[in-house]
Every structure is written in structure tokens, then in C-alpha cells.
């Protein structure tokens, strides 16, 4: 990169220096100016079909589409000159000729680029008096619904399916004013990454069937998080309304998922709202689980663990912080920590290097391994010895033969829900799920990524790091000072060589690589 020529130019009076080959649109972004655009998307090949990004460049005879024009030395660019504004106003007027005025019932309203730019630069009224074109809606399969009338033919979806997903299912059908987005007749948008066209669509033409009519864009609270669907650790945004997660969207991160999120990940958020949660700590009294306060439950757990070996089956969906404190419990009791991970098919996104729905369907597999938990997918309970205390941390062991659990002298369940198929546990500690607490996950490339709290936890539920810190203290491994996720992470970075040098400040919201991590290392 060192010998790339740098170009100096002026955009709206601001001096900008960018590498040679940058487009004017991208250069303007560095100067804090967003040139309105529809067909351009940084993750897709440039098409230059919408003509919305026209800007005036001095000494050029005509207005230049800034998404397809490279910067030149000494250029003077006017984004908001009268000529450019007039041209873009004309483009908007033409786009709105057949665009229905159905913003009140359109799911995109509030996050619609057509709405935004029309409000910024468009005409206040329409001069078009003729009847608008009407086409029926079309179900594109998968999660995608195509509302033909709203389409502005930017072809972002076509280019995504052709060049990024490399499954050419969509095309521009018909010509002239009858043009619409067409789908291959024998195919549906059921490809593993196809629903990204919904996010790419700048208007409400491609909408999610799952989110249809559920909430308005401006009512949502957005929280930066990490997808828990697989070990890729795609960055996402959890969008909630009234403490209920209603949608999951990708959050762009050049190092992990670019702009994309797979269908399996984006539709897997309902469990975060599940109502059948354990909401109070419980201990077993006369073979029945009775609600108690947290302190009593910790004491009971400590009493059970005294002099016994803790056999911990941890979930690879627990955060690094939680697993780190859980490790203290294991070390203190001379126990053993194992985990199991659900596996599935691997679905790569061909157009993006190193991005796939991974076979390991849990977010923190690498983190659990780094923290000394042994992976046993087939029979995690094999190492459970007679008389051990079985600790199920966030794990419900679905679909396994759980008869081995009778070997345990006692069972402690620390999780969001009750575990079926095991003898009545002695202690149940309710912890928050990923949407209700803060923490970090380590993805399969060793990238430690933070997730934030998106909703409030029900009942007396405590964040997992909180519960594990208190449990560690109760069994004798003093963790009284572990009172914040950032503090726990600092302690983790100090005592685990793999995490050395990392802190919440350095990893930020884009993640930080652990020591010795290289692409493809794991």
C-alpha cells in the first residue's frame, strides 16, 4: 500500500487526500459529505444506473456520477451546487413517477433512502397527474417479499445475487417503464445468504416477511451485538421495541462480515424473547424446587461443592467473562470443564473472503477452548465420575442420553431455562441471555468481539458474569472485585496469555485479535 499515489482534491471547499483510484463518492465520505446515491453500495460492483449521485466537477463538461468517477489531482467538486441539486431533483422526480405514496404502510419508512433524499433535495409536490403504474406484489421465497411498485431498479439485489452470492437468481425483467426485478421461475430466494437483499434495498421494494408490519423503524432501540448463530461471530444490531427483540440486522465490519448476515442468523432471535424463563434462584427442598434469594442459593451451591469435584458442562454460548469466572470455580474445586457444540452444514458467501455460516453453531467455541474447556460433542458427560457435582452452565444438553447424570451427587443448573430429562437439580441459578448482558465472544479466527445489552432481564435474573463471580467467591476463589464486565475482562487479559494486551477500550466495537491469531489459524 505504501507506493499508492495519493490524490489531493477539493470537495465542497474541503481539501481531501485519498489514494488513487478512489471514487469521488468515497472521497466525499472521508470529508463528511454523503452524496445521495441508490445503486452504489460499497460491497457491490459499481453500476451507475440510478444517476442520483451526480455532482458537478469543475472543468468537466457534464455532471459526473460520483460513484463511477475516480478522483483526479486538483479536482474541484461541488456536491451542492445549483446545477447538481437541480439534476438530482430531476432524478428524484422521475423516480417518484411510479413510486406509490404508501409510506404509512411501508416497512421501510423511516429508514428509506428515497424518503430521506426526497426530503432533503426533492420537490415538495408532484407534477405527475397521470395514473401510476400498478403491479402486484410477488413472493420471492425465503424471507423476501417483492413489492414491485416501490422498486426504483437500482439493481443492488441483482448485483448481490450475481456477484456476491454468485447464484444468479434475480435479473431485471422487461424493459423501459415496464422494467421490474424478475426472479428465475424455478428458483426461490432461499439461498443461505439471500435475505441480505432486504438490507441492500434502499427502498421498501424488498421487505422481510418476518418483520412485515411488526414495527416502525423509528420506534426501535438499536444495540450493537454479535450474532450467536455460529462461530463466525458476525457483527449485528439487535433492534428491540418495548423490551422485545423484533429484528436483527448486520452491522458492517470489514474484518468479519462486511455488510452481511446469513438468513439463519438474522431469523434466529426469537429465543431471546422466550417467556418460559427461570426468573428466581431456586434450591431443592423436599424434592421440590423452591424460590430462595440469591445468597441462600450461592451458599447452598457452595455447600454442595465443598470437598467435591465440580464437573462443569459449559455452553459455548457463554461469554469469555463468564467462562473465565467459571474456570475459577473449576480450579478451586479441582474439577473439570467440558462443552459441546451443535454442528451443522457450512454455507460460505462466495463473494466475500472468509465469510460463512460455520459448522460450529455457537459463538464462543474458540474462547471456551482457550479457557481450558474440553470439547466433547458426542458424549459430554463421559468424564462425570461417581460423586461429582454436575454443573450445567447455560447448557440444556438437548437430544442427549442423560442417564449418566444420576452418577452425580448433586446437580447445579445455571441457565436461562430449566433442563429437561435430569433428576431434580439441587440449585438453579437464573442467568441472563446474550441480549440481556454485556460481554465478549472469541470467534473462530481469534477475534474478541464485544456485545452490549439490548433488553432488560426478567425477574431476579443476573448477568452470567455476576452469577459466576459470586459463585466463585462462595466456593472460596475470591472474586469480590469482579464487579463489571470490563474489570473481569482486564483480569482475564492479565491471567490468560492468549488474551494478553486486550481490553474493552482496545477492542472497541470492531473486535480485537488475540495474541498469535492469524487468518485461518483455527
Amino acid at each position: 500500500m505504501a507506493d499508492v499515489r495519493m490524490i489531493n482534491l477539493t470537495i465542497e471547499g474541503r481539501p481531501v487526500t485519498v489514494p488513487d483510484g478512489t471514487t469521488i463518492l468515497e472521497a466525499a465520505k472521508t470529508a463528511g459529505i454523503l452524496v445521495p446515491h441508490y445503486c452504489y453500495h460499497p460491497g457491490l460492483p459499481v453500476a451507475g444506473v440510478c444517476r442520483m449521485c451526480l455532482v458537478e466537477v469543475e472543468k468537466m463538461p457534464k455532471l459526473a456520477p460520483s460513484c463511477a468517477t475516480n478522483v483526479g489531482e486538483g479536482q474541484v467538486v461541488h456536491v451542492y451546487s445549483e446545477k447538481a441539486l437541480e439534476a438530482r431533483k430531476g432524478v428524484l422526480e422521475l423516480l417518484l413517477i411510479n413510486h406509490p405514496l404508501d409510506c404509512p404502510i411501508c416497512d421501510q419508512a423511516g429508514e428509506c433512502e428515497l424518503q430521506d433524499y426526497t426530503f432533503q433535495e426533492g420537490r415538495t409536490d408532484s407534477r405527475y397527474r397521470e395514473p401510476k403504474r400498478f403491479d402486484p406484489m410477488e413472493d420471492f421465497g425465503g424471507d423476501v417479499l417483492y413489492v414491485t411498485n416501490r422498486c426504483i431498479l437500482c439493481t443492488r439485489c441483482v448485483r448481490f445475487m450475481d456477484d456476491v452470492h454468485q447464484e444468479p437468481v434475480l435479473c431485471v425483467a422487461e424493459r423501459g417503464d415496464r422494467a421490474t426485478i424478475g426472479k428465475a421461475p424455478d428458483a426461490d430466494l432461499t439461498q443461505p445468504w439471500a435475505a441480505n437483499v432486504i438490507d441492500l434495498c434502499p427502498v421498501g421494494a424488498l421487505v422481510s416477511k418476518d418483520f412485515l408490519n411488526k414495527a416502525r423503524a423509528w420506534e426501535l432501540d438499536r444495540t450493537a451485538s454479535v450474532c450467536t448463530g455460529c462461530s463466525q461471530g458476525c457483527n449485528n444490531v439487535l433492534e428491540s421495541r418495548d423490551n422485545v427483540i423484533v429484528r436483527m440486522k448486520p452491522r458492517s465490519n470489514e474484518d468479519v462480515n462486511h455488510f452481511y448476515l446469513c438468513d439463519a442468523g438474522r431469523l434466529d432471535y426469537r429465543w431471546m424473547n422466550r417467556p418460559d424463563r427461570v426468573e428466581v434462584p431456586k434450591i431443592r427442598m423436599h424434592d421440590v424446587l423452591s424460590p430462595v434469594d440469591w445468597e441462600t442459593a450461592y451458599d447452598e451451591a457452595a455447600k454442595l461443592l465443598k470437598g467435591k469435584r465440580a464437573f462443569v458442562v459449559a455452553s459455548p454460548s457463554l461469554s469469555n467473562e463468564a467462562l473465565f469466572l467459571l474456570k475459577r470455580v473449576i480450579t478451586q474445586t479441582g474439577g473439570e470443564g467440558v462443552f459441546r457444540c451443535e454442528t451443522g452444514f457450512e454455507a460460505p458467501l462466495p463473494g466475500v473472503p472468509d465469510l460463512a455460516l460455520r459448522a460450529d453453531r455457537a459463538p464462543n467455541v474458540y474462547g471456551a477452548e482457550l479457557l481450558g474447556f474440553q470439547r466433547h460433542d458426542i458424549n459430554p458427560l463421559a468424564g462425570l465420575k461417581q460423586g461429582d457435582v454436575l454443573v450445567l452452565a447455560g447448557e440444556t444438553l438437548p437430544g442427549l442420553d442423560l442417564s449418566a447424570t444420576t452418577r452425580a451427587s448433586a446437580i447445579i443448573v445455571i441457565g436461562t431455562v430449566h433442563v429437561d430429562g435430569i433428576p431434580t437439580p439441587s440449585v438453579v441459578l437464573p442467568i441472563a441471555n446474550v441480549a440481556e448482558e454485556e460481554g465478549t465472544f472469541t470467534n473462530l479466527r481469534g477475534r474478541v468481539q464485544r456485545f452490549l445489552q439490548a433488553k432488560a432481564a426478567p425477574g431476579y435474573v443476573r448477568p452470567s458474569w455476576y452469577a459466576f463471580a459470586d459463585l466463585a467467591t462462595a466456593v472460596g476463589a475470591n472474586s469480590d472485585d469482579m464487579n463489571l464486565p470490563s474489570v473481569i475482562f482486564s483480569a482475564l487479559a492479565q491471567s490468560e496469555p492468549a488474551f494478553a494486551g486486550l481490553s474493552y477500550d482496545t477492542i472497541g466495537l470492531r473486535g480485537g485479535l488475540i495474541a498469535g491469531a492469524t487468518a485461518g489459524a483455527h
Binding site: C103, P104, I105, N213, R216, W218, E219
Partner: protein, 165 residues
């Protein structure tokens, strides 16, 4: 020592009440025969409300009797008192409609923003003022009640004016 009281000597014309009484009776008599009356015989007679009067809401309906509302969410967004609760839903034909639409008339400040912002001209302020109820819960008007209202609606702008739609 004896207390002496000073007695004021006043002319009879000032001290007499006869004159003032007659004056008062004359005024009463004048009002008795005067046709100009400001008192309204409520509830037999009702006050004539201004066309811009902003009273409790009314939801207008389409020809088939369902609410015009498409649950766009603009009224709960614009409402400064946060008194509108709206949960959007979808009917069998895939049209948006309000699953829940409730207005807390106690919390409402009757600003009329909801009527102004409504793109479907569904929610309206009403020209109506008799709202008494026997309990507080009855002041949360649900969709059924809002559509069942029959009183005239407020005209926030003059329909005859070129910019008044």
C-alpha cells in the same frame, strides 16, 4: 371614665336604603323583560361548538365499517403526551391494520397533532365535551369505542382554503 362615642350626622338621602333597593329592583325588572339571555338551559340546550373545537377523539371508518387506520405509527410518534398505544397487525389480505389502538383521554392534551399528522384522515378530534364516566379505566378509549363515536369531528383547517386540502 365614661367612653364617648362620636355619632356622625348624615343626611337622610345618603343613609336611606330605599333608593338603592329601588335601583336594584329596577335592574332585576329590566332583565326580566329583556329578551337577551345568556344562560343556556343545559342539558336540554347544548352549547354551539366552534368547528375547530378539539374534544375527545373519533376514528373514522371506511364504507364497510372498519377503521380507516393503517397503523402507520405517526400519531403515537407525534403525540407529545404519549397517550396513544398502537400495535400494528396484518389482516387476512395482508393489509396493515391496528391490532390495538388505544387513546388515554386522561393523558391527552387535545393538541390535535394526531389529526394533523394522520395520512389516512382516520383519527380525528371530536366536537364533543360530555365525557363523564364512573371510573378511570373507561377513559382509555379502544378502537371499538373510537369507531363507535358519532359526534361531529373537528375541522383543524378550512376545507375551502386552497391549502386546506
Amino acid at each position: 371614665m365614661a367612653i364617648t362615642v362620636k355619632v356622625m350626622e348624615r343626611p337622610i338621602g345618603e343613609a336611606s336604603y330605599v333608593r338603592a333597593t329601588l335601583k336594584g329592583l329596577a335592574l332585576t325588572l329590566k332583565h326580566l323583560v329583556d329578551p337577551h339571555r345568556v344562560t343556556i338551559q343545559y342539558p336540554e340546550e347544548k352549547w354551539d361548538l366552534s368547528p375547530r373545537w378539539r374534544g375527545t377523539h373519533r376514528m373514522l371508518t371506511t364504507e364497510d365499517g372498519t377503521a380507516k387506520c393503517v397503523a402507520c405509527g405517526l400519531c403515537p410518534t407525534v403525540c407529545p403526551a404519549n397517550c396513544i398505544k398502537l400495535v400494528p397487525g396484518e389482516d387476512e389480505e395482508g393489509n396493515r391494520f391496528p391490532l390495538v389502538f388505544e387513546i388515554d383521554e386522561f393523558r391527552c392534551i387535545f393538541c390535535g397533532f394526531c389529526q394533523e399528522v394522520c395520512p389516512e384522515e382516520a383519527i380525528h378530534m371530536g366536537r364533543h365535551y360530555e365525557n363523564a364516566e364512573f371510573n378511570r379505566a373507561r377513559f382509555v378509549y379502544d378502537l371499538e369505542r373510537l369507531t363507535a363515536q358519532t359526534h361531529p369531528v373537528s375541522e383543524l383547517w378550512d376545507p375551502a382554503h386552497p391549502r386546506g386540502e
